[in-house]
Each structure stands twice: as C-alpha cells, then as structure tokens.
Amino acid sequence: MSFQPFDTPKAWDIAVAGLIKENPTLKMILGCCPTLAVTTAVGNGLGMGLATTAVLMCSNMAISLLRGVIPEKVRIPSYIIIIAGFVTVVMYVLKAWLPELDKALGIYIPLIVANCILLARAEMFAAKYKPFPSLLDGLFMGLGFTLALFTISTVREILGSGTWFGLVLTKNLWAPAVLMILPPGGFLAFGLVITGMNKLTNGKIATPMCATCSPERCAP
C-alpha cells in the first residue's frame, strides 16, 4: 500500500512551493531537457509549459486516485505508464488543434513522459495525498515550470531573434545574437536565469535533484 496519512499542505503553501520556493526547474533542476530545447521562442516555451501542466494535473490526479491500489514494488513502472497515457492524449490533441506548435516542439512532446518533474511529483506528492491537493500541486508545479520556460525563452528570443512572442522588437535595429537561439545559448540563458533566481531568493543555492532521482531518493 502506498497510501500514508500525512498532514495535507494548504492550497496557498502548495502554490508558493510550486511557483517559487520549490520551482521544479529553477530550484530543483528537474526537467532540464525541454527547458533548454524548446525555449527558442516564447510561444514554444509557453506551449510546452502548458502542455506539461495539463499532463501533470491529470497524472497527479489519476495516481492519487490509485494510490491505495498500486503495489509498492511496481509503483515506478505504473506511474510511468499512467503518465505515458496522458502524454499520448495531449500529443494528439496538439496535433489536431495546434499543428504549428506540434511542428515546432517536435519529439519533445512525447518526451514529456521522461520529464523528471512528473515522476518526482507523482512519488513525492500524489502517492501520499488526496486527489484534489494533488491536482493543485500538479497545477502549480506545472505553472512554475511554465514560468521558468517563459523567462528563459523571453531572454533567448529577445536577445537571439530581436522579437518577443513574434512581435518585432529590436530585429530591425541591430543584428540579433544568433548564438542565443542555438544550443550554447540555451545553456547560457538557463545559467543566467538560475543565477538571477539564486540572487532573488537570497542566495539559496539550487541543488540538482534529477541525477539522484532514484526511487529510494525521491520518497523522503
């Protein structure tokens, strides 16, 4: 049985944690693959963030509903299958209704399955708490992720293409730094935004979770 009674955090605490204090990308360094890959334009970053939020909300809810049923030993494969199911749904919804976004994001949409954030939240929150708080946690963690993607893609698009959200800003004034929309620029923008975040939260250093994200480690 993976259900354990814990004091459920309040909605406000969940919101603050997801957006700022435990921001999955900028504080816990989870989900770095899409963060670097799709943030070449603000539209792409926002689209990826919102798609991930949708999957996160659904998967958190589903896993929380099933938390009393899934046996301990097979919980990781079960969570992954549930997440994969929702990702497939979102994938085809995007293909049907937002084909340009689907084309821009490419293989990174099915790769939402391998996004560490989803498995981490499933293990750390949805497996322990009731469905509605899990839904909220999914929402705010997803929004925190979207916020991070939005910030990084703003930096990259303004510096790298001279536009923002497609609106021409400085493109015709001076030549943009094309490096920023190329892979090295992704690393650079990510590093700058994390440094900014560290400075804003009074130098509380970001500690990477993903590399040590083993089943034993994820469950505190």
């Binding site: 360094i29 899409p34 992954i80 790769l111 391998a114 892979p183 590093g191 990477p208 590399a211 994200c213």
Partner: protein, 198 residues
C-alpha cells in the same frame, strides 16, 4: 553496394556522435549531464550504462514497432510501448547483471534505475522512428548516440573537476557555473555543424 552501406554507417555514426550530439545539440539526457558529472568515474559509468541500454532498447523498439504497431496502424501507441520496453529492459538488465557479473553491478548498478526516466533513452527510439531508419541504421545510430553521450559526459566531467578547485562566488556555485561551462563545451561542438554536405 557494400561500400555504400559502410559509407552510410560511418556518416550516421559521426553525425550521431559529433554533429547532432545527444546532449550538446539535442539536449537529451540533461539530468545526468548536470548531475553525475562531478567525477569522471561516475560520468563514464553512467555513459556506458546508457549506451548499452539505448542500443538494446532501440533494437527491441524497432522490432515491436514494425511487427505490431505499424501493421495495425497503431502509431499512437509508440510512446507507451517504448517506455514499457525501457522500464522492463532496465529492470531485466539489472537483475541479470547482478547475478552474472557482480563487479559490473557494483560499478554501474546504481545508475540503472536512473536511466528509466532519462530523456535520451526514450528520445533515441523516437528519433529512429522519425528518421525512418531500418534496423541496421537504427542500431548504428543508437550506438553513435550513446557514444556521443558518453563522450560529452566524460569531457564535461573533466571541465567540472577542474572548476571545482576554483574560487567561485556563492550565487554561481554549483549548477550556474556548470551551465556556463556547458555553454562553452557546446560551442566547441558547434564547430562540427555542416561536417556532411547532406
């Protein structure tokens, strides 16, 4: 005919390792790239484990895709079946290695559970499907991708080990400085763009 195939294999390999490096160009496998590269020994271990899993997974995924999914027009099940294959394979490999090669298990064992949610391991079969490779090219590309991943990890861990000794301001210590170093490593690999005229 033979020369043609060999040429294709070499080009695919070099593309996978250098031009479209999994980590530095396609941003797959970022989590271990930032997480296990503090020491070269752990980086090498992770790289080898990932290469092995990626090659076997790609092969199995190709077979499953073209025998079960495509004939039934069920391409939408690709994501799910690929991840099933990965989860099962990693668990199976861990059990087998633990039984038959204990020293290897001691060295690599802890990395195997981390590979299940590695973007690179899911990304390679998806890339193979997107590029419509046949079985041989899928395996070649997967091996190249794994080798490129290992190369990137080992190079970056060398940079990081050196950087650890330097005096870095508190806000930049850890991940930000690693990312700035990664920018430069990625820029150096960018020089391989356009290596092949195609």
């Amino acid at each position: 005919m033979m020369a043609n195939i060999v040429q294709q294999i070499v080009i695919t390999l070099l593309t996978a390792i250098l031009v479209e490096n999994l980590v530095l160009s396609k941003f797959l496998g970022m989590c271990p790239f930032l997480g296990v590269t503090q020491k070269t020994s752990t980086a090498a271990g992770m790289g080898l484990a990932v290469t092995f899993v990626v090659v076997v997974t790609a092969g199995l995924a190709w077979i499953l895709n073209y025998t079960l999914l495509v004939p039934n027009h069920m391409e939408y099940l690709q994501t799910m079946t690929y991840i099933l294959i990965i989860a099962a394979l990693v668990q199976f490999v861990e059990t087998v290695v633990r039984k038959f090669i204990p020293p290897l298990y001691k060295a690599l064992g802890i990395y195997l559970p981390l590979i299940t949610t590695n973007c690179a391991v899911l990304g390679v079969p998806l890339l193979n499907t997107a590029k419509n490779y046949d079985l041989l090219m899928s395996l070649v590309y997967s091996f190249g991708a794994g080798a490129g991943f290992t190369l990137a990890l080992i190079l970056f861990s060398g940079v990081r080990e050196r950087m650890d000794k330097a005096d870095i301001p508190a806000t930049l210590r850890g991940i930000p400085s690693a990312l700035f170093a990664a920018t430069l490593v990625s820029m150096s690999f960018f020089g391989f763009q356009g290596l092949f005229a195609s």
